[in-house]
Symmetry: C4
Subunit: 220 residues, 4 copies
């Protein structure tokens, strides 16, 4: 059996556990950031879950490196995976892939159109990304001197205003780490949002073209 098959088999087997671990990572990170008043044992448990799922991501990375049979070039060639191992908060974004795959397998219903799938994929990814960024931003900002992001609600509001490129500027990060998180959010998020906009636009065009001379596009 050659290496490619083994990698594919690993990905098929590890997919669901890793998706669950990603959600657990996000949830335990949220507990750690927001649950400052929770009893000690709960916080300890959430921290254990956090590091446990991170360990799983590292194991997955190591296994795939091994199976690939590549040398140090693997780190460069799979740079996105390498980044995600160091910044596991970006990991939940990949859950969307599993969700999309599940949608694909459901036998009874007709498949969504290509545009709908791109919109769903990019929309969900940017939502998860925005949520992760809001958590991290709140974590690093809310106690900083002169901070304008003081509650988690502020952080969410900032995150949405940033992703949509509206950027009111009423709440902004002031710390160095907070600004770095913002830069990552802008970089990843804008591309994803552009994909949502682009595919919606193309979907609308298609709908109108198909509708021809009858009643126009019909709301879903």
């Amino acid at each position: 059996m050659d290496d490619d098959n083994r990698t594919a088999r690993w990905e098929r087997r590890a997919g669901t556990p890793l998706a669950v671990a990603s959600l657990l990572f996000l949830a335990s990170y949220a507990v750690g950031v927001l649950g400052e008043d929770l009893p000690g044992p709960v916080r300890d448990l959430s921290r254990a879950v956090l590091y446990g799922s991170w360990a799983l991501f590292i194991v997955d990375y190591a296994v795939r490196w091994r199976l690939s049979g590549e040398g140090p070039g693997f780190v460069h060639r799979h740079w996105l995976d390498s980044v995600v191992v160091v910044l596991p908060l970006l990991r939940p974004v990949r859950i969307v892939r599993v969700y999309d795959a599940m949608q694909a397998r459901r036998p009874g219903e007709p498949r969504m159109t290509l545009q709908a799938r791109v919109m769903l994929y990019a929309g969900l990814s940017s939502s998860l990304l925005g949520l992760s960024a809001a958590l991290a931003e709140y974590h690093y900002e809310h106690n900083a001197p002169g901070a304008s992001i003081r509650t988690f609600g502020d952080a969410l509001w900032w995150s949405v205003a940033t992703l949509s490129t509206v950027g009111y500027g009423d709440v902004v990060p002031v710390t160095v780490i907070g600004r770095l998180i913002a830069v990552v959010l802008m970089g990843c998020g804008l591309a994803l949002l552009g994909a949502v906009t682009g595919s919606f636009s193309s979907y609308l065009m298609q709908r109108f073209a198909r509708a021809g001379d009858d009643l126009g596009p019909r709301g879903k």
Copy 2:
């Protein structure tokens, strides 16, 4: 007669009354929000119109559910309709469909191009959406402590600056509900505006391509 036909027939018959009800809903909502100094009976009447048209939307939803012959899956499958029943302020956006259909039926004039129709559709939808959002934003913000949206003019200005993603930040919502409305406006509005931009760009390209070597594009 099969179910699909009955649904289509219902939509054909109910289309115009529902469009009128949507406009009445928007108008009576505006009266309720802006007409604080109107005499009591006028306000009572507008409230009656408001709930009356809402009731019509619910009846329409129920009838279509019935005619579809589907179980609880209808709520999930027609999720956009389900959202609109709960947030009827989004309803007026669908008037545009009726307007487009009327344009299509007028026999005398030549049909607009595909791009022009998408631009008109997305432009009108986002205008109505912006108007509804400004009304709701004014409603929830103008008495909040520390609010910067104090007049309906401020709310309209905020709404346009948000839809265009300019986002000056001179007037911003400060309440939780106000921010939720803003998130909905960004979500729906940006996609619609992307469609306007995209179709205008493609229209311009086409126009230049057709103009070939002669006088260039001619302003309408």
Copy 3:
């Protein structure tokens, strides 16, 4: 000779004088707005030029209405022309058409690509639009109480930040008329800028596709 030909002949003949009048209108408007310290006669002259060119626009509109042989429907059907007659500051945008036509006629040089022409057209249009908006904005804002647009430099800066949708919000209009001008600028400008972005993106794609495996795209 039928009506269409007469309209075309009129447009051919009136094109250059109208373009000159448009530039004169813009220049005299700028003198009126910015030259508050100029001697009286100069200001009177510029006002005369302003109303003179406006009168020319009205004559052009009337002639074309006459030649079209249409009734009141002309106003609706040529709504963009009707708007421009009332708001002649939008007129200079149409100069671009003449410039494009001149480019097209020059025999010696090879024609620009479609994307380059769309970029040039949309780029020049939005520059002229931004300049007009900055003039008008300065006119209505710089003496308003609480204004942040106090110099013409501020107005230009605001205009660029608005057209690019960056929208810092450090200088913003505060009067009703100032905000209406801003809404028009956002509406027209964003669509034009979307066309610039879109055609640049498509130009880059084409260039890379053609470059194939050799040296990549070559800076002009």
Copy 4:
């Protein structure tokens, strides 16, 4: 041997030295702007490197003008090169071309897709542009009265927020030169960023279309 060949040969030979000079120019500009506390000799050396590389750019421009055999029309026809000779800080953006060419020549690996190359090209260009703009902005702003860009970190933060069109407005240029730099950054940067967004969107579409009914898009 005709002129075109000689130009091509010159570009092939001068490509790498010019790319190195571009990086040296950027580096020595950064030392000049940021290294105010460096010992005098180091600052003198960096200034020498700065003017040395600028001289190289001028030589390259002159040689290509000569080889082209054109008259003064060269300045107009190669206007982008002419601008870059006067504003050499825009030069590093062209390094990307060399990088792309190197990628193309590497024999072992498969070629990147068209979209990936456009994304890489536009992404790298806008990064270098943002870095140059931040350096220049810091240079002209950090001592201005009433400035909000006081550290180089502020300048970088402003640069990213501007390129992404988020535009919070918490730090903004206040001097005339600072605002001119901002206008150039918006003009060049937004088009480049639009190319990144557009090609990412098209890449995602393609990936989903190819994935068909299997596991969906696979993270790199």
